[in-house]
């Protein structure tokens, strides 16, 4: 059996924010406090892959003056769970051959490789990525911008930023707060025809807050 890998992060390395552990326990880490580390068990990625990936999604959706980014949202954890789940092994994609890797873009992704295989190969190419300077990192990403790996990385980064926290990303609803999305709420019947031209920003609510006590079944934990 494969030795279980962990993503080890120090409080300082993630800039003093909140991360979600796999048992969905919120851990508050603060750079101001004495350095502490958190070990997040990984389901699919190796620690080195997770470090490269964290750096890469951090360049796609950076943490900067316009707000928190992929690192704070836990995009790496989101992607790790997706890859470990049915989506990662293409459980719901049509995977019969023949394959035509050179098909025109109108046909969508026509390759044989599953998301797991694409990530494994793509992250191998990015080995040591977290050790590069931000400029070097951007240059490297520009080189792979046209690959299926980058397309997946980009799509999954946005998903991890804005999915329900149930899936491991959008920790503490940081993504939703960035854009003023209140999450799933049952009714705007009193508001839909008001607030014209003004930002109406109800406090975000996640699915588990909307449905307290309900056992939820995210797709990544299914077959």
């Amino acid at each position: 059996m494969k030795r279980r890998q962990f993503l080890v992060l120090t409080g300082a390395s993630i800039g003093g924010t909140i991360v979600y552990s796999l048992d969905r326990r919120l851990s508050l880490l603060s750079a101001q406090e004495k350095p502490q580390t958190i070990r997040i068990p990984l389901r699919f990625l190796t620690e080195n892959e997770a470090l490269s990936l964290t750096a890469a999604v951090g360049r796609i959706f950076p943490s900067d003056e316009s707000g928190p980014g992929a690192k704070e949202a836990g995009v790496t954890i989101f992607i790790d769970r997706q890859l470990a789940g049915p989506w990662g092994r293409d459980a719901h994609r049509y995977t019969h051959g023949p394959f035509n890797e050179n098909a025109p873009p109108e046909f969508g992704y026509q390759g044989k490789a599953t998301p797991r295989e694409i990530y494994r190969a793509g992250l191998k190419e990015l080995a040591g990525f977290d050790q590069l300077t931000p400029e070097e990192q951007d240059k490297k990403l520009e080189q792979i911008e046209k690959t299926p790996f980058f397309a997946l990385l980009h799509k999954n980064t946005i998903e991890g930023m804005f999915c329900d926290p149930l899936h491991g990303g959008n920790v503490d609803m940081v993504g939703w707060q960035l854009v003023g999305f209140p999450g799933p709420r049952m009714s705007y019947a009193e508001d839909v025809d008001k607030h014209f031209g003004e930002a109406f920003r109800p406090k975000p609510m996640s699915l588990s807050e909307l449905l307290p006590g309900r056992k939820l079944h995210p797709s990544e934990e299914g077959q």
Binding site: R93, N100, D164, S187, Y188
Partner: protein, 591 residues
């Protein structure tokens, strides 16, 4: 193969058409009816609330057809090798009891009144030379006055909101003045008006157009339908299209038809049942219009293949599987585009949809809304405007909609000045404009062409080893010229709405599977006034096998700009009446 006890009726597919037919037969006849549904039973309201999850239910299409089990292949023309659509994006058919009707957006416009006679009306007004090269446009074999009572009846069953613009020929201010004459007002008033809809309304009015509120199968007041079922009013939660309604305000087959069916002991629904063939009675002669089918074979929920004999078969899956099952079962003459012969598979159409992206100063709060919150104009519909000096025929509707936006899908739209699609500059602009992007959209007709059709794929198979259906489809000049004409109008509307910067809609290129278009795909088993022009007669009865009916948008000879469900239900009800009132008394051809 195990042979099950005979039943009177087998219905293949438990979506809108299958369940409407099951309800009618259950209520009005003593026949034993079995509905075979490949998917599962419908989700409960509690489960639908758990489905307010954009990742699982939009991005991962968890409630839709599972491509690992079955998909379709695509090529643009016969010279190209078809490839499978490995992940559905451009259209999203459902699965399970209720089918696509469980996750639709519930837009419920009627078709343009001249759609049913498009060929005759176009030739009459402009001459035959006006018809685009290679077209396959034809009349439906029915007229507006024949379908109108069924539209009206279904609006009362399904529960539809809106504002009439033409009541028995009288034009009503605030409704759609270009719609066909309606016998009755909508059963419910329009929904509440969101900010973007007021901007669209005022812009359209200012430009001299005729805006009206969209009609949809969503309750805007607590509503008791024509069968006595009471459902609540919409809460505008924003989780509408692609989601199931967790309060029951949006009409689903499961909340509108299933409660009645469940009371009928004569109707049973078998889930997990995938039909592989409809069997022909070989002792009959299909050439003489008196062929017969004798039942279906299907894989049951345990994985065993069984034979279910039946006297009457209703094929009610979706556009693709309706055509595919007929092809696999050898029921009809496959269409051959080179010889122009055969009818089965012809007239495949989709729908044109483009939108302008305007960047505004003020936020829209666009997480609110739903299928009821929209404003439309019909000034560029069908043949409402004169095409004499234009190089295309037909048109479509324009609208400003507040359907409810979620961020995985909606994030990332930036002005043209931002070149990158990742990194700090893009992120900053995407956040800044996240709730200030909007504009007018255009939904246009896709006319039928000889070159757009379906047949069986020679290479790719489903999980049982049966060929997938192959789509041969591309956009042609009529769509390109139509959209080129509409783009400046959509941009002008968006500017009048107050946009400071506008990214105009893209021109029509090659048909693509990578962008959501609409789940409105039509044709393949079309209705026609004579057997040389379509597989079905105008009662959706197979010309060669009178005990086989094929229900759904697969019967549309061509597509209107309006969403198809209102027309599908109206014509299904018309078929149900003809079967109950006439066919059962004297089985045989209804025409």
């Amino acid at each position: 193969m195990k042979r099950l006890p005979s039943v009177d009726v087998v219905i293949i597919g438990g979506g809108w058409t299958g369940l409407l037919m099951a309800k009618e037969l259950g209520l009005r006849t003593p026949l034993s009816v079995v509905v075979l549904e490949r998917g599962e039973k419908p989700r409960s309201m509690a489960a639908l609330a758990e489905g307010m999850d954009e990742l699982d239910y939009f991005s991962r299409t968890r409630a839709q057809q599972d491509c690992s089990q079955e998909t379709v292949t695509l090529r643009h023309n016969p010279g190209e090798s078809a490839l499978p659509i490995r992940q559905l994006v451009s259209f999203l058919p459902g699965t399970g009891v209720g089918g696509s009707g469980e996750h639709w957006g519930a837009a419920y416009p009627r078709l343009q009144h001249d759609m049913f006679e498009m060929y005759s009306r176009t030739v009459e007004r402009y001459g035959v030379e006006k018809l685009p090269e290679g077209h396959a446009i034809q009349d439906w074999g029915i007229t507006w006055s024949e379908i109108e009572p069924y539209y009206a009846r279904m609006e009362k069953l399904v529960g539809v909101c809106g504002k009439a613009g033409n009541l028995q020929g009288r034009i009503i201010e605030g409704g759609d003045p270009f719609e066909g004459p309606r016998s009755t007002e909508y059963p419910m008033p329009p929904g509440k008006t969101a900010y973007i809809c007021t901007l669209f309304h005022d812009a359209a009015k200012g430009l001299g157009y005729h805006p009206f509120p969209t009609s949809s199968a969503i309750n805007t007041v607590a509503f008791k339908n024509s069968e006595g079922i009471v459902r609540p009013s919409c809460f505008y939660c924003g989780y509408c299209g692609f989601y199931g309604c967790m309060v029951g305000a949006k009409a689903h087959p499961s909340n509108t038809l299933l409660p009645i069916i469940r009371k009928q002991k004569s109707v049973s629904i078998r889930t997990g049942s995938t039909v592989r063939r409809i069997l022909r009675d070989t002792s009959t002669n299909s050439r003489a219009k008196n062929g017969k089918v004798r039942g279906v074979t299907y894989i049951d929920a345990t994985g065993e293949e069984v034979f279910q004999p039946a006297d009457l078969v209703f094929l009610c899956s979706w556009t693709f599987d309706n055509t595919r099952l007929l092809l696999l079962s050898g029921l009809g003459d496959p269409y051959d585009p080179t010889m122009g012969k055969g009818t089965l598979g012809r007239n495949l159409t989709h729908q044109v949809q483009v939108s302008a992206q305007g960047f505004f100063d003020k936020p829209f709060n666009r997480f609110m809304g739903g299928g009821t919150t929209g404003t439309r104009i019909s000034d560029f519909e069908g043949d409402v405007f004169d095409h004499s000096t234009l190089d295309f025929i037909r048109g479509g509707s324009m609208s400003g909609l507040a359907g409810g936006a979620q961020p995985i899908t909606a994030f990332g739209v930036v002005p043209l000045s931002v070149k990158k699609r990742w990194g700090s500059e893009w992120k900053k602009a995407a956040i800044e404009y996240y709730d200030r992007v909007g504009g007018a959209g255009f939904t246009g007709e896709h006319i039928a062409y000889k070159s757009n059709f379906m047949d069986l794929d020679p290479v790719y198979k489903d999980r049982f080893g049966d060929p997938l259906v192959r789509l041969t489809i591309d956009w042609n000049d009529n769509e390109r010229k139509m959209v080129d004409y509409m783009i400046p109008k959509v941009v002008e509307l968006t500017r009048a709405m107050g946009a400071k910067e506008i990214v105009p809609p893209a021109q029509v290129g090659r048909y693509t599977t990578t962008r959501y278009q609409t789940t409105h795909v039509q044709g393949g088993a079309i209705m026609a006034g004579s057997p040389d022009k379509g597989v079905l007669n105008p009662y959706w009865q197979h010309w060669q096998y009178p005990n086989l009916f094929v229900l759904g948008a697969s019967a549309f000879p061509q597509q209107g700009s309006a969403n198809p469900t209102s027309t599908i239900l109206a014509l299904t009800q018309r078929t149900a009446d003809a079967v109950v009132d006439r066919y059962l008394k004297e089985p045989g051809s209804l025409v």
